[in-house]
Structures are given as structure tokens and as C-alpha cells.
Subunit: 309 residues, 2 copies
């Protein structure tokens, strides 16, 4: 496994390490297999689901699951179902976030959003069906090293990360926050729910799928996931200001245009950068005990902070 030369700000794909690239390709093929065929009834629904999940996206959540499993010497197949479930949940959340009643976005991953391509009703249903599919995929996992009790824990971890005290709750905070001046701790909670919960779940699912991991180690990996998640979201806020629409694949300035509170607007740009970097450094410290097995997870922590899209 060669470590690539990394500039401070890099788009992920060209500089993906061979290990990360192999996992991203692996996730794509697992997703292709798990999604219902486009030529099978109800066809338009299946097409909308495939359109939104396949052929785009950073696959960060899948990569985190594979990378977390790797810390505990698990082969990638142990995280296949988790990786697919996480990316399916993420895709569903983007479909619903983009809806006219929500963020009303017409561009996502550089192509028309699901409701532009398939209509609003079908987009709502595609999101709903994808959420169910994520749980179905995880219940059908036969390759992880987790015993049945641990698999139920994985399902609970995913469900909690999606619900009112996770992603959906974060979106509700976000709705209510438009035009508000949040405190730093309120903003942190909003981001922990909105983006952090699923990224933390990705690290936990990868860890749990690796087999017997003690409670201390699991807590530590939860802390790693929470830090990567927050760093990722701070970077998102920064890119909303500094990014280029063509590179980030969605409208630059969208958060500012909607008067949404962001890290740069609340603590300032330089403090935002410094915070993201310190979260990355804490992550790397937390992973110190894993040596080279944690190399890809460290790479992803760097990526969360340095990414350009």
C-alpha cells in the first residue's frame, strides 16, 4: 500500500490511495447488486433509486466503514452490507433534502436532483424506499463477523443515526435555525445530528462488523467517528463559501443564500479551519494504538479536512 503525495487541498478521487480506491469501487459494485433492477416493476421507482445512489458521491461513509473494520484486521467483505446501507441512507437523505419544500436544490453531484429528473412524488417515494432498503440490506448481511446480537446492535446504531436524534433531527434543527443566530454549542449539536451521527455510525458499523471489539475500543471508535463527522461538516461550511460550484457538484453559496448558520458565520473562517484541524489531530491520536492498520482511516481524517468537494 503506497501512500500518495498529498497537497494541502486535494480532490479525493485522483489522490485516493489504492486501498481506498479499491473500497470505493467495491462499494459501488455492492450498491449495484443491492439496488432493485431498473427494468423490474415498479420501474420508475427503481430507476429513481438507482439514479440517486449510483454513479456519483464520495462514498465517504462506505470508506469509513471499510477503514474502521481494517483497524481490527477485518477483511472488506465484513463491511460490505454496512457500507451499502450507509450510502443508501445518505443518498435517501440527499433526495429529501433537495426537495422543493426543503432546500429546493436542482443540482446534486453535478446532475439534476431526483425530483427534477423524476418528479417530486417519485422522489419522496424513492427516498422512503431507500431508507427501508438500507435496513433490509443490513438484516441480510451474511459476511460480517458480528454475531446475531451484535448485528441487532448495528441495526440499532444505524436507526438511531437516522432518526429524530440523528440525521432527521439535524435537518429539523436546520429548518428551525434559518435566520437564527445560534451559539457555537447549538451549531455543534445541529451538525452532530445532521451529518455527524451517520458518519459516526459508519465508523461504529465497520468496527462492530469486525467481530468482538471491547466496549472501551468501541467508545474510542465512536469518538473517532464523531470527530471526523464534525470536521467534515465544518469543511462543508467552508466549501459553501470558498468552493467552486463545478467542483463541489452543488450550488456554491447555497447556505449563505438561505441564511443558514454555519461555522464560518459563527466562529469565523480562521477559527473554523483551526477547529477542523484540531479534530483531525485528535482523531489521529485516538488511532495511535492501531499502527499501520489505521492508515486508511487516518487518510480519511485528513481528507475530511482537506477536501475540495
Amino acid at each position: 500500500m503506497t501512500r500518495p503525495v498529498r497537497s494541502p487541498l486535494i480532490p479525493i478521487r485522483p489522490e485516493l490511495t489504492p486501498e481506498l480506491l479499491a473500497w470505493a469501487q467495491r462499494a459501488e459494485s455492492v450498491l449495484d447488486r443491492e439496488l432493485p433492477p431498473a427494468n423490474q416493476m415498479p420501474e420508475r421507482l427503481h430507476q429513481a433509486m438507482r439514479y440517486s445512489v449510483l454513479g456519483g458521491g464520495k462514498r465517504l461513509r462506505a470508506l469509513l466503514a471499510y477503514a474502521a473494520g481494517r483497524c481490527f484486521a477485518a477483511p472488506p467483505e465484513c463491511a460490505d452490507a454496512s457500507a451499502a446501507a450507509l450510502e443508501i441512507i445518505h443518498a435517501y437523505s440527499l433526495i429529501h433534502d433537495d426537495l422543493p419544500a426543503m432546500d429546493n436544490d436542482d443540482l446534486r453531484r453535478g446532475k439534476p436532483t431526483c425530483h427534477i429528473a423524476f418528479g417530486e412524488a417519485m422522489a419522496i417515494l424513492a427516498g422512503d424506499a431507500l431508507q427501508a432498503l438500507a435496513f433490509e440490506v443490513l438484516t441480510s448481511d451474511t459476511q460480517s463477523r458480528a454475531d446475531a446480537g451484535t448485528r441487532i446492535k448495528m441495526l440499532r446504531t444505524l436507526a438511531q443515526a437516522c432518526g429524530a436524534h440523528g440525521m432527521a433531527g439535524g435537518q429539523a434543527f436546520d429548518l428551525d435555525a434559518v435566520g437564527q443566530r445560534l451559539s457555537h454549542s447549538e451549531l455543534e449539536r445541529m451538525h452532530a445530528y445532521k451529518t455527524g451521527a451517520l458518519i459516526r455510525a459508519a465508523v461504529l458499523l465497520g468496527t462492530l462488523g469486525a467481530g468482538r471489539v471491547d466496549a472501551t475500543e468501541l467508545d474510542r471508535m465512536g469518538a473517532v467517528g464523531a470527530r471526523i463527522g464534525l470536521a467534515f461538516q465544518i469543511r462543508d461550511d467552508i466549501l459553501d463559501i470558498e468552493g467552486d460550484t463545478e467542483v463541489i457538484g452543488k450550488r456554491q453559496g447555497a447556505d449563505i443564500a438561505r441564511d443558514k448558520p454555519t461555522y464560518p458565520s459563527i466562529i469565523g473562517m480562521e477559527a473554523s479551519r483551526a477547529l477542523a484541524q484540531s479534530l483531525r489531530d485528535e482523531t489521529i491520536s485516538l488511532l495511535a494504538g492501531h499502527g499501520t492498520a489505521a492508515e486508511s482511516l487516518r487518510d480519511l481524517a485528513h481528507y475530511a479536512v482537506d477536501r475540495r468537494s
Copy 2:
């Protein structure tokens, strides 16, 4: 347990047997406990979730789970988590079905629909959070007699009933069917997905939660659930024509107004009634081996066909 005098067409609540009434009240209190508190952040989301789940609804899916468990001598606590999960899923599906982009309904269970009361964005999120909560509740079940492997099967059964080959798929069929002339078998498939899958899942979850049930018995209970589900939907189609808005709690004639294919429009009113009755009779035959333990499940099969709302 006294069996009530039953007229051919009855509203359920006044004539609920003591056993069914006790289960309906039990489901209500489990739901109240499982839903997040209205005064806890994010408050509006929690309020929208509670508004849509509590204080209304027939609780048919919960009752089916309890009644199925009763066939195998399971005490009601074995089906508490399943009952709550099923009703939460059902409530989420109603919120999304009622959205402006979908059926655009303003009245549900005799009160304003969720998006009228809380706004469209919050209604989308409440539905999303409820779907996640249903799975979370089922992963947190500690009272059923199911072992961990069976609990995963219960989660898979629920996920499949919600997804592209279940409820969400049925809604997609429904969208694409507006203004179409479906064949009887196409209509049956649409209804099997849209309503039948979750009702069948209710019977299966109640059965699986009762502990060790052999595959033949499980298949039989699946057949019971499928028949009750289809009979229930045929009755729904009939009530859309014959029902009274005040009694059914939603707009009478809504399907006709939208030019949706229904059983009466495809096979005629009398054939629809006869089909529902024959599905009920088949259900009762399938349950013959359970004697008095199946009394409530038989009552529910009658209810599916005779209900007035």
C-alpha cells in the same frame, strides 16, 4: 372473553371485544412511551411525530400483531415492540401520502394532516424520522420470545414490507396508475404492495415474536395476513364510494376524484364485496387449527370486511 353481537357493518371502536380494546389501549401506551417527548429538542419535529402517531387510528396493524401472537399462546408483551413499530410505519406512510406532491390531502383521522399543521418540510422529516424510529423500536425489543436470529428476521420482514417491493413500491404503482385502466391482477399486485405487505408483516411479526413457530405455520400465517390485507383494501375502495367523510375521517370520493383504479371500478361493486367475503372465509379456514386462541384474529378478519371507517 365475550364475543360481541356483530351487525354486518360496524364501526370498530364501540364493538371492540374486551381483548381487542385492551390491546388497542396497550398499543397507545407503548407508542406514547416510544415516541420522543414533545418538550425535548428538536421540539417541533417531536411534536409533529406525536401528532401524527397518537390519538387516532384504528390500530389494526398493532391488533393483528397481538392477535397473531395470541394464536401461539404468547402474552401481549411479546408483540409490544412489533405493534409500536407497525403503527409508527403506518403513521409515517400516511404523512407522506398526504403531502401536496402526493395525494394533497388536508384531512386525516378527522384532523388536519401533518403538513397542514406543521408545514411541508417538517412533515417530510417527521415521516423520515418515524420510519427510522420504527426500526429502532424493533431493535430495542427485549420482551418478545424471539431469539436474536429471529429478531433479525422480524426486522427484515418489516423492512421488506416498507420498501420498493412493499408499501413504497405500492405507492409508486399507485402514482403511475392514475388514469390507467389496470387489469384485475395488476390492481391486486398494487394493493398487495401498498397495503397488503404491511398488514401481512403485522401478522408475521406477531407470530415470530411468539417464539419457535415452524416454517409451515409461518407460511400459513403469511397467507392469513395477505388475505386480511387484501380484504381490508377492497373494503377501503368500497368505503371511498359509499363511506361518509365524517365517519371515515378522510375525504369520501378521493380515489374517484383522482381517477385511481379501485376494486369497484375494475370488477364492480358486488364482485368486490363477494371477493372480500371470500378472502375472510379463507382466513377463517386457515385459522381452524388454532381454536379459541384465534378468536381475536378471526374478529379482525370480520372487521376488515365489515368496517365502516
